[in-house]
């Protein structure tokens, strides 16, 4: 487990710099990350099954899924991870791809076909991970009723 030392979690006036799309931007603690929205339908779920090789019937067989405790198909959990990676790439670009960390990602509620989900997060502050400086963000995937389907912590090196 990486040793983690929060240096600045509440000092809202402090800022850090990130390279975004080739430009250096200054990001204040507490600032919201971009918001992405995705329409989830059965076709998208089937396409994820095809690219990931995960054809579990709970995801791709509506008739079978209706007989389970979920009452219908649900999206694959890793699809939400791909969306969180998209969020962090859109904000941090190459810094994410070559040094980002997505930690403690937990799956709290199923995402169902027909739902429009929001993917976003908040900058929490600066911290050290294994002696290197990172910006810490809380990230999430939110269902239309406000319930958080997936939550986690993203760390971007700076």
């Amino acid at each position: 487990m990486a040793r983690r030392r929060l240096v600045n979690i509440v000092a809202s006036e402090r800022t850090n710099s990130l390279v975004q799309g080739g430009l250096t931007v200054r990001s204040q603690n507490g600032l919201r990350l971009p918001e992405l929205y995705k329409e989830i339908d059965q076709e998208k779920i089937n396409n994820w099954a095809a690219i990931s090789g995960d054809f579990n019937r709970l995801h791709v067989d509506p008739e079978y899924a209706r007989t389970t405790s979920f009452g219908g198909t649900i999206a694959h959990g890793p699809m939400a991870l791909a969306f969180l990676n998209e969020l962090m790439m859109s904000w941090a670009g190459a810094k994410w791809a070559i040094g980002g960390r997505l930690l403690d990602v937990r799956f709290k509620a199923p995402i169902r076909p027909g739902e429009r989900i929001k993917i976003s997060g908040t900058i929490k502050g600066n911290c050290d991970l294994d002696g290197k400086p990172y910006t810490e963000c809380e990230v999430y995937v939110q269902k239309p009723d406000g319930i958080l389907a997936v939550v986690g912590r993203a760390f971007v090196p700076f």
């Binding site: 799309g21 080739g22 995705k38 998208k44 396409n47 994820w48 095809a50 690219i51 990931s52 090789g53 995960d54 054809f55 579990n56 019937r57 709970l58 959990g77 890793p78 699809m79 991870l81 791909a82 969306f83 990676n85 998209e86 962090m88 790439m89 859109s90 670009g93 190459a94 994410w96 791809a97 070559i98 040094g99 980002g100 960390r101 997505l102 930690l103 403690d104 990602v105 937990r106 799956f107």
Partner: protein, 150 residues
Amino acid sequence: MEERVTEKPELLFAELVPGRKFREFYFPVSDDLVQHYMNVVGDRHPLYWDATAFRAQGFTKPLAPPGLAAIYPRASYLQDHSMPSGGILVKQEFKFLSPAFVGDTLSVRATVASAEIDDKERKRVHFFIEAKNGDGEKISEVNIHAIWPK
């Protein structure tokens, strides 16, 4: 990647002995795969396809989408098996260490870090997965925590 789960034997909890290493899994990051990934996910970051964008960042080739790390870890421990129905993905973590590029073939190795029955009789499994790029550099570490169905 399109392999139906019924074609392989199920990977059972009893086979998930801590320390077990699965055979190396090779994952080609082809142009077609990246195009498919961008279409399915909707993540069309220019660093994956736009020469002006990736050269401006000092890269000579397009970057592989980091989100592919949502795909290859699971595939690495299910090369010879299918996932029994009813499992629950509890937690997942990624560390990106070096860039992977379109055209690389990643070598991916999964290890069973732990497997235990908790106090509610749930079968908890933790996989640790490492991936290397074509130059042998480690590009990612992934931890997957799941409740195994049987």
